[in-house]
């Protein structure tokens, strides 16, 4: 029942996103049939062709009818139309840039876990207040400095001043160091903070006092009694953080001239290339709908009582 309700909400959300995407392109000035007819042509398309396309795509029908046809084309054929700028099919442009973004996001996310888990764990259980404050300060610096600024400073120092690494573009592993490092520093700041507060919350519970009073070893208390129950809230919170990862990648891709989805989006918005924006909106919408569904299901698993109150907002 709970899962069904969540799926239904996810479905409603997808309909809203697709409606938004559909209307975004329809509000474009100009005759859509003419735009499509002129794709990949040197000369102006003949009027018969324009009429034929109008018929085929149903542009002379009422809007709801058009929406259904459009949705059918998108879902069944993966046909997202053509870029008004490069004249290429939108689907292939998105698919071409996708691996680049996934590579950046994947490597960064992995490294972030390696850094933020030990730091967050340490800050969460240490009794040394200076150490805790120091790690929190580091984390704060990481997430408070804008990603683009961190990236430009990194380019200035490591590529321009000391000439150690290439500044922009893609190539071997040397080209990956700066973008990945900058994004990792930023994201580790967020994640360290999350892991620390999850650990603190559980470390303050009375049963931890009992465990200490019983004389259990510190390592056992930290790993079994604190970390284990904190793990699922941490994973859930890390999933919520994926939004930050995504926002970070589109800035990093633009600064370092990587042709990923983020840069494609920024360029398309600057060029007002609506079919491409529409394609990316759909793709991002679906990805985050799935992530959100995962978060909700994890919450339900985590705390069956939450199922009753879900929709009251996730408060952690």
């Amino acid at each position: 029942m709970f899962i069904l309700r969540k799926l239904l909400i996810g479905l409603i959300y997808l309909v809203v996103i697709s409606l938004g995407a559909f209307l975004m392109v329809r509000q474009m000035p100009g005759d859509p049939a003419l735009l499509i007819a002129n794709q990949n042509r040197e000369s102006e398309a003949p009027p018969e062709l324009v009429e034929q396309i109008r018929e085929e795509y149903g542009f002379d029908e009422p809007l709801p009818e058009q929406y259904w046809r459009w949705l059918g084309r998108v879902v069944l054929k993966g046909d997202l139309g053509y870029s008004t700028h490069t004249q290429q099919p939108v689907t292939s442009a998105v698919l071409r840039s996708l691996p680049i973004s996934l590579q950046l996001a994947g490597i960064t996310f992995g490294l972030t876990l390696l850094i933020s888990f030990p730091l967050g764990l340490l800050a969460g259980v240490t009794r040394n207040q200076q150490l805790d404050a120091f790690i929190q300060g580091l984390a704060w610096t990481g997430y408070s400095i804008p990603v683009f600024l961190l990236a430009v400073v990194a380019i200035w120092l490591f590529a321009v001043e000391w000439d150690l690494l290439p500044a922009i573009g893609r190539g071997g592993i040397r080209y990956m160091v700066l973008p990945v490092a900058v994004l990792t520093i930023h994201l580790s700041g967020w994640n360290t903070q999350i892991i620390r507060s999850s650990m603190r919350e559980i470390a303050g519970k009375p049963y931890i006092k009992v465990a200490e009073a019983k004389g259990l070893k510190r390592a056992r208390i930290v790993l079994i009694h604190i970390l284990k129950p904190a793990l699922l809230p941490i994973i859930t919170a890390l999933l919520i953080q994926l939004g930050n990862l995504f926002s970070g990648t589109f800035i990093i891709e633009t600064v370092f001239a990587w042709n990923g989805v983020g840069r494609l989006l920024v360029d398309s918005i600057l060029a007002r290339d609506f079919p491409v924006i529409q394609g990316i909106l759909l793709y991002v919408g679906v990805v985050f709908a799935l992530i959100n569904l995962m978060i909700d299901l994890l919450y339900g698993y985590l705390n069956p009582a939450a199922i009753e109150t879900l929709g009251k907002g996730r408060s952690s």
């Binding site: 600024l149 939004g243 926002s247 907002g313």
Partner: protein, 263 residues
């Protein structure tokens, strides 16, 4: 004690910076867009405290006028999103039941796409310009703040004086405006501070990418973008606006220490 002192000093400095940005004439005699090729790339010092850029424009002056855009927009975002979030959270928590459910769902729906990205998508269908950016960021950011506030207001609702107010027949709007929101003041101010800092980050990031401000008008993120070709010969062109961003965020964060309860 130290936290409070730091908070007061930071808030004072922040106000000074804002004043300097909105009344730049008292600090600098130059015009932000006045091109003077004979004075290009003057290093910091002398009559140009922060030097001049590739067109001979005074960097300090551009920093002040740019701050007007960056900090002014961030203030607009903070006011707009905090106001909207407070109202939404107040109405939602106060009514409870189906209204609460519906309002919370709408807010949740808006939060699924990451904020900065959502703002960008909104900007793409609006007129280019700074005000579109501010409006888009308000729309993208308020649901998150509303979620924080709603939980807090919910716990305020169980207080006795609210029951008393209701018992003597106070109207809903009166209870929300006169009882709930004033008592949630600390929290609302904290959200205001956080949204101001996040506004500085969002505005400068999007301006860096080329959205919002129209050239040649200055803005901190746009200034950093314009400084990139000259990183090798004139790094200060990037360093000064960069420091301006980091320092204002830092001061905002320290100012928030004033709102924390005495230990």
């Amino acid at each position: 004690m130290i936290r409070k002192a730091l908070g007061f000093i930071s808030l004072g400095l922040l106000v000074l910076i804002l004043l300097a940005c909105f009344f730049p004439g008292f600090v600098s005699p130059y015009q932000p867009n006045a091109i003077e090729f004979s004075r290009k790339f003057f290093p910091p010092g002398g009559p140009h405290w922060m030097g001049t850029d590739e067109l001979g424009r005074d960097v300090l002056t551009r920093l002040l006028y740019g701050g007007r855009v960056t900090l002014g927009s961030a203030l607009g975002i903070a006011v707009g999103s905090t106001l909207l979030a407070s109202l939404w959270a107040g109405v939602s928590a106060y009514n409870g039941g189906a209204v609460d459910e519906l309002l919370t769902r709408i807010a949740d729906l808006l939060m699924i796409i990451p904020g900065l990205l959502f703002a960008l998508l909104l900007v793409s269908i609006m007129e280019p310009g700074m005000s579109s950016l501010v409006i888009a960021l308000i729309i993208a950011r308020w649901p998150g703040y509303s979620r924080i506030l709603r939980g807090q207001i919910y716990s305020l609702l169980s207080e006795d004086y609210l029951l008393a107010a209701r018992a003597i027949g106070a109207r809903s709007s009166r209870i929300i405006w006169h009882h709930l929101l004033p008592n949630a003041r600390t929290l609302i101010l904290t959200v205001f501070g956080l949204s101001f800092a996040s506004g500085i980050i969002s505005i400068s990031s999007l301006s860096y990418l080329g959205f919002g401000v129209q050239l040649p008008n200055p803005e901190w993120g746009a200034m950093i973008n314009a400084a990139r070709p000259f990183l090798q010969i004139r790094p200060y062109l990037m360093v000064f606006p960069g420091l301006a961003i980091v320092i204002t965020i830092l001061l905002t964060n320290f100012s928030l220490g004033l709102l924390e309860p005495e230990a």
